[in-house]
Amino acid sequence: MTQLLTPKKLIVRTGLALAVLVVVMFACSLIGTEDVSLKAVFGGAGSQTVANPDYEIFVKVRLPRIILAALVGAALASSGVVFQALLRNPLADPYILGISSGAGLGAIIAVISGLNWTLWGRSPIAVFAFVGALGTVWLVWFIGRLTGKFHLAGLLLAGVVVNAFFSAIIMFLTSIVKAQQVYATIFWLMGNMTEEDFLTLWVGAGCVAGGILALFYISPQLNALSFGADDARSMGINTARVRTIAFAIAAGITAIAVSLSGLIGFVGLIVPHAVRLVFGPDHRQLLPLSGIVGAIFLVVADTLARIIIAPAQLPVGVVTAIVGGPFFLILLVKYSRKVSWLK
């Protein structure tokens, strides 16, 4: 008899995963070019005149960056789950419908225009990337709808074509602008963690956590949608509503992640698959666990990015691919025997 998912199992597993996440975040905050003594950190901020360097590094430099990595990882992995479910395609990831190229285009336009303002503390790059990401998803969704009521192949093709088209414009723009601007754009496209202020982090984390919670609420319907919209509808599910909500939330949290950290690849593709291989396809579990595992994965990847070639830093997108790829292949080989849809 299968071990069916029960609320108790779900709570225990989610709780354990969260505990691991907290431990990993804490441990990674201690790792870096400067040794940080935990004892010194708990000594507090120090006096006005003599700052406590350990506290400064831990709280003001490392912690914000680690929180950022966690929230970006959670957003990308959970929206990867949703895109795979809605498109019924194991190759889908959060960027498949054009979010990445839209955000990239927004970012390069912001770089070129040399704007010099902030919106709620966000740089023009972040704002333009966010708008570009959401605008592109909307465009793809709109084009996809023109091809039929809700045609998955049409939607995917629209995403691929819009991605290619915007990528071409990005190439064009990078080839005509100054070297300095090209560098800023490419650096952004590779995906990077920077130290954000706490307000940005809390707002971002709140949106991502709220989004994942809302997605969890419709996760049983996502299970039924794996059989396609017609089947799900005849099982009594309001597929139009579920799809619209899921798309909007997944696109929204991806856009937040992208505007905070640039394009970090791979997390949204391999984390959902890794969790599915180990724990099964039930979205009620897949969604929260992927979010947490995505957070753990990106925190570790970013820590590696900080220390591998210290004092210089690698773009975290490079690390996610280099570390994530082989790790995923090992999982794939080890578990694929029990996962029949891979055969």
Partner: protein, 269 residues
């Protein structure tokens, strides 16, 4: 009228200028086992898709339980009509039990989990379809016949009075074909389900179904008791094939006679 499914002056076309179904009217009484038969392309699947609102019919042309089908919420309609479709593309490796429980999704609690009653209904559906043995196996790992039984179990788990099936015995071997019809018949007799099945197998329909709706390419239709509708003349008219009709006891059977078939000349004598 007193049918659980009532179809009245139903016409349908996929484009404004085309017509695939023209002015069809019939009713299905509760607890009837109805076969829909006819040549390829006459609109059998279209009709089935209209009866479960995958396609939208004109207002008040189809009523389920005396209520126009367009007035139902998605969830309310699912509690009346369950469907087993022909095409099936599994993407992720859900187990049989998980698949059958999915039929209970609209009734899940706020935490998104099934309750005791949902599990009992799903288990009954597994038992009725003889699929308990592979409840924990991934659906995609089953053979065609086993998988079809699981999809029927999922439909049964919707606990609806009406069950629609689109060629449920397609691609199945003889044993599994008979197995599917036996379990549908059992659902009709024991649970009083109304069953509508699209089929190309005249003999199985003849043996198991009470009534048959025969659609023909000239957009006409015939509905009635199976033994009245299926006659060699009628079959020849609709399918354009000579058939030999024989009888075993009180059951009729039909053998199609192709021009070059081995014994066709001897039989037709």
């Amino acid at each position: 009228m007193s049918g659980i499914i009532e179809v009245e002056n139903l016409s349908y076309g996929y484009t404004p200028t085309s017509t695939i179904l023209k002015d069809i009217s019939f009713e299905v009484k509760p607890g009837t086992f109805l076969a829909i038969a006819g040549p390829n392309g006459v609109g059998k699947s279209t009709l089935l898709n209209l009866m479960c609102r995958t396609l939208t019919p004109k207002s008040n042309t189809i009523r389920i339980d005396a209520v126009p089908i367009e007035s139902y919420s998605t969830r309310a309609l699912a509690s009346k009509v369950a469907v087993v479709r022909q095409e099936f593309v599994p993407v992720f490796g859900f187990s049989v039990m998980e698949v059958v429980l999915m039929a209970r999704t609209p009734y899940y609690g706020t935490m998104g989990f099934e309750n005791e009653a949902d599990r009992r209904i799903a288990n009954e559906a597994l038992e009725a379809t003889d699929t308990v043995g592979f409840a924990s196996r991934p659906l995609a790992s089953l053979s065609g016949g086993e998988r079809q039984r699981v999809l029927i179990a999922r439909a049964l788990a919707q606990d609806s009075p009406v069950l629609l099936l689109d060629e449920p015995t397609n691609f199945l071997d003889l044993r599994h074909q008979v197995g599917i019809y036996d379990l549908l018949k059992a659902a009709q007799l024991e649970k009083g389900k109304t069953i509508v099945v699209i089929t190309h197998d005249i003999n199985l329909a003849n043996q198991y179904c009470d009534e048959v709706l025969l659609l023909s390419t000239d957009r006409k239709f015939h509905i009635g008791k199976t033994q009245d509708v299926f006659s060699p003349e009628q079959i020849k008219k609709v399918f354009g094939v000579e058939v030999f009709a024989g009888e075993v006891g009180r059951e009729k059977f039909f053998i199609p006679l192709g021009k070059l078939a081995k014994d066709s000349r001897q039989i037709s004598k």
